[in-house]
Symmetry: C2
Amino acid sequence: MEPLETEDKLNENIAQVRDLLNKQKLVENIVHRSQSTNQELVEDLVHRQHLVELQSLLAQLHTGDIAYILEVLPLEDRIVIWDQIKTERGGDVLLEVSDSVRKNLIEALSSDDLLKALNQMDGDDLAYIADDIPPALLLIRQETLTAEDQKWLQSARAYEEDTVGYLMSNEMVVVLETDTLDIAAQKLRSLKELPIHNDTLFVVDRRGTLKGILSLQDILLNDPALPIHNIMLTDIIKFSPNDDAGEASQAFARYDLVSAPVANERGKLIGRVTVDVVMDFIREETTEDVLNMAGISGEEDLFAPILSSARNRGLWLIVNLFAVFAISRIIGLFEATLAQIVSLAVLMPIVANIGGNIGNQTAALIIRGITLGQINSENTFYLFRKELGVSALNGTVIGLVVGLFAYVFYQNLSLAVVIAVSMFLTLVVAALLGMSVPILLDKMGRDPALGSSIITTATVDSVGFFIFLGLASIFLV
Amino acid sequence: MEPLETEDKLNENIAQVRDLLNKQKLVENIVHRSQSTNQELVEDLVHRQHLVELQSLLAQLHTGDIAYILEVLPLEDRIVIWDQIKTERGGDVLLEVSDSVRKNLIEALSSDDLLKALNQMDGDDLAYIADDIPPALLLIRQETLTAEDQKWLQSARAYEEDTVGYLMSNEMVVVLETDTLDIAAQKLRSLKELPIHNDTLFVVDRRGTLKGILSLQDILLNDPALPIHNIMLTDIIKFSPNDDAGEASQAFARYDLVSAPVANERGKLIGRVTVDVVMDFIREETTEDVLNMAGISGEEDLFAPILSSARNRGLWLIVNLFAVFAISRIIGLFEATLAQIVSLAVLMPIVANIGGNIGNQTAALIIRGITLGQINSENTFYLFRKELGVSALNGTVIGLVVGLFAYVFYQNLSLAVVIAVSMFLTLVVAALLGMSVPILLDKMGRDPALGSSIITTATVDSVGFFIFLGLASIFLV
């Protein structure tokens, strides 16, 4: 039996090594943020319902990791994970997930579970997600807040979603300009917990007016006996709570900021914006353009239930339906011409398809320019002229090629000329529409990307069919 | 004459006040980063050729502001501004502008001017833009670098554009784990200039192996006599130079990082990545999706000359041409059917247009999911099932509505049923294509967004026309 025993032993050893390796892998993961492995492990445990192991794995993960894993799982799996973390980190995780996933979770959680999570949040956290919480629950939570937190929650909720006031937090270290650096250092030491991204302290006078900023480096590198106002920076970037969040995030990128003070119209320091919030804002904002262009509300959660996804895309599809019925009626005007020259039906989708794509190209350029803050009343005219030039150039080349194609298949010179000219005209109109639609939406205070692809395709199709069939009725019948 | 003199005096006073107000406005601008006013002032001075005033205004602006203003102006204006700043800040500004504007500037500048700017850069800066510089000029500049900078330039250039190695810098403060906090503070004081975003120092052993990080706060808040290894954080997020830049930027967002160390495969500290670089990367990367989907190379400069813009969009338009010719030939197969039933020509663009839009909606969702790192082999199957469900649901509703529309206008039940069924089938295929195209492109290592809108529209159009006209030939003729 000995050989067998040895083999058993060997196998046992191998199993132990494997186990150790696996444990090692876990530790490695956490340190090396190999996110995909973490995620696979979690998904595996969720599906095998190994809840004890799942809990211990989740306990080792960063809140950001848990939020990320929730993002990429369907609702039922989200709930399994939520049950494991809710008692300790429910509040933190709810803050970290994206808007759409948060809404999805809040809908699915019991009032009791949700209230548990809310109880882990302070006034600042609550203000950030208040709009998504059922008002009755928020009221219950609100009553147990400190007076200061209640006040902050109320004032912060007064700001609209796309403003600096909405992004700002009240966590910051404030010092008096007349204090010394040493007192500033003592103040830091006296705090139980320092705010995130605390690269600078904010300096105020006795009345709370923002006077400047004092970096940690300056405290560290200068004589502790010096007064703060000798050292602080006064030429600073500050925001007003009503500033546009998009513009503020551009300022963060442009001036390489980590944190910046927010002051009200009387110059009083009221809050702080940090780069982590700005980065999340940029990520959500810029990637939403892609969805909005296609006519999807930017909030759609990739793993939302079928019914809510279908509803989410429904609005623009209704717009789309009305548009195509109009297009069909425009073509219907030329039914007699189509009955006479059937080749028109074969060729007309060429005009519509290329026209739609050119319109979308121009719209995409303009939408990106608006998102990056590169388009203003000064340069709009220049851009119109330029895009017209580009489309005329491309329209000439494409018109000639399409005309040639039509001639090769139908040996009809008039038909070839009609489609070439239609192609050129449609492309110029497409470029004009691709520019005008997002700029007009933006001027109207709407999201310039919203539905632009559907609007552009529909209008360019209508115009293209009308030009092509109209010219054909005049010159070919 | 007195009244006149008084009036003169008054006017002079008004002028002075106005002048002061304007000056005040300038100062206010710089402090309050009212970017649009700065930009208007600069544009005005450029156009009026007030070069002296322009120079003094530019001298007061942050490098980030100048880079931004260059972004939103055509080339000839960019050159006027460049001439005013080149001697002192040409290098810095060249680093700050976006890739496309940098390329545009480098092409337009004289070798002499460009070399001046390059001479203002160190090895780290040069590595960042090296690919855009004419090799001969880079060689000239390289020879005057210090040996250390030359070495850095060479090793940094070895990394591909979308890796952490490409984003990393060699500017960092490194301390030994055996030193005390006091020695770390002394080291900081001894530096002439501190690196940007220097929130943490990196701790190594004698062999240069990364051991942990030490935050400025920890230096400030602890007993200076303590050794660094007692205080430093060892459970840290670090990157390898070959890590994907997109994944690293997601880690920055997920873990709220300001700076993070980069270590090679032997664990040796080789560089540092900071949040400003990551934020720029995210802004360029995510906003490029919008362009790429529409078939524009992501690098297009909004204010590039017409010819280069036309060329930039030309490649995908050629693809588009081939695609529409194929579509037209598919319709051509059914010429006989179309000649018999002209209403088919009137109705068929409905199928193509809605189908294309549904395909684009699905593609947009998937592209965004890939950009945000939310799609992996684990959840692809789930997503396919879900998107099929959404399209079947929307397809049923839309099919019925379109069928009703056809019936109202043509009083032909068979025709109504054929278009309703075609609509349903096309929408399901559109969703499948909208999912498959970006996922396949991504699996092939290509940008999932590239040309997806053109590819999706073309394939959905072909399929839609084929299904509709095919069913019509079978059941209506």
